[in-house]
Amino acid sequence: MKSVEIIIDGIKKIVPKRITILKIAQDVGIEIPTLCYHSAIEPYGACRLCIVEIERNGRKRYVTACNFPVEDEIKIETNNENVVKIRKLILELLIAKVGYKGKVKEYAEKYEVEPRFGIGNDDCILCGLCVNVCKEIIGVSAISFSQRGIERKVSSPFEKEPTNCIGCGACSFVCPVDAIKVEDIKNERIIKKINAKLELEKCKICQKPFIPKKLIEYIKNKLGANVLLDIFLICNECKGKNYVDKLLPFSLTGGKK
């Protein structure tokens, strides 16, 4: 038996075994809120916001949709009263930590959360997306969690400039609460949150610094001989201009030149 019949919010569905509840919900078109989930990254199960209620043999349990693999016939409730209650409290606790920011704000409004524990002003909800994207996808592990418990935080080694960081900014992009800002100032890319400072390469044509040298190295290593290497040294603005010949076939002149 490779597949199994489940009921999700009253909808019967036959699904392959070990598929996650979140994937089923996405297929059916049911929205489940997530903070620490990203489809390119292994589910981490830390924010618990995607919690749903499952019923198996009459016993109810609460599991996280992002990483719960369906094994047998279960009934899933993704949005009942109990589930909403849990989600509200999670959001309330997060508001006590970071206040209304990014996706937390979005969900807090959606679930009409009334904060009882105050409104905090930290920047990070410790969802782990930045750490995991850096480790799993980019593969450089420039940053990690440090300390534990309530002291836990995202940081670079020794809170110093992370030697492994290539300045790609994926950490910033995946952050659900915009805790990580990437700024290009003069000839440096600065990611303050993780103490990163990266020297930028200048565009060969306009001389404007535009891309971290380390990022170019990284891409070169990854692509090998697959691509014209000097493309990396030209900024996006100048690329079009430089490659006018190559662009021409696609932007034809209508024939009456």
Binding site: I219, K239, K246, L247, S251, G254
Partner: protein, 158 residues
């Protein structure tokens, strides 16, 4: 619709930017145009740009051997069976490497809005036998959706 491309007759482009707006609106989650204009939730993936002597709506050229697809660390970018380079936005982590390797400087990501700006040939419309939004909307018919090789050869031979 295999190996289709959008080509531009640059002489007909007035830089009116209708294609940009239509592109963004057609990918928007909003149904009402005015609502969308008030608070746009999408960036256009076609951009009017001046390149040397002419102005042209630049958009992804869906290269035959796209470096962006090769470099993408999450597999968010993929070339489908019709040769269209498509992004699965959910999988995008915004590392921006595709933008760096794009030879034409067309791909872009927006870190603040957390979206990737990438032409998908309006694949959802194509499935419904509709033309891509930019092509359909151009008031001066500067854009054309064609089976590329044939058209290219046609023009070449003139």
């Amino acid at each position: 619709m295999k190996r289709s491309k959008i080509i531009v007759n640059v002489e007909r482009c007035f830089a009116c930017r209708t294609c940009e707006i239509e592109c963004a609106f057609s990918h928007s989650k909003k149904n009402n145009f005015f609502e969308f204009m008030k608070n746009p939730d999408r960036f256009p993936s076609v951009k009017i740009k001046k390149i040397e002597k002419f102005i042209t709506p630049l958009r992804c050229l869906h290269c035959d051997f796209p470096s962006c697809v090769i470099i993408c660390p999450t597999g968010a970018l993929e070339k489908d069976e019709n040769g269209i380079v498509i992004i699965e936005e959910k999988k995008c982590i915004g590392c921006g490497m595709c933008a760096i390797v794009c030879p034409y400087g067309i791909l872009n990501i927006n870190r603040d809005k957390k979206i990737h700006i990438k032409c998908d040939f309006c694949i959802e419309r194509l499935k419904k036998d509709m033309l891509p939004a930019c092509v359909l909307s151009c008031p001066n018919k500067a854009l054309k959706f064609v089976e590329f090789r044939e058209e290219y050869e046609k023009i070449r031979s003139r």
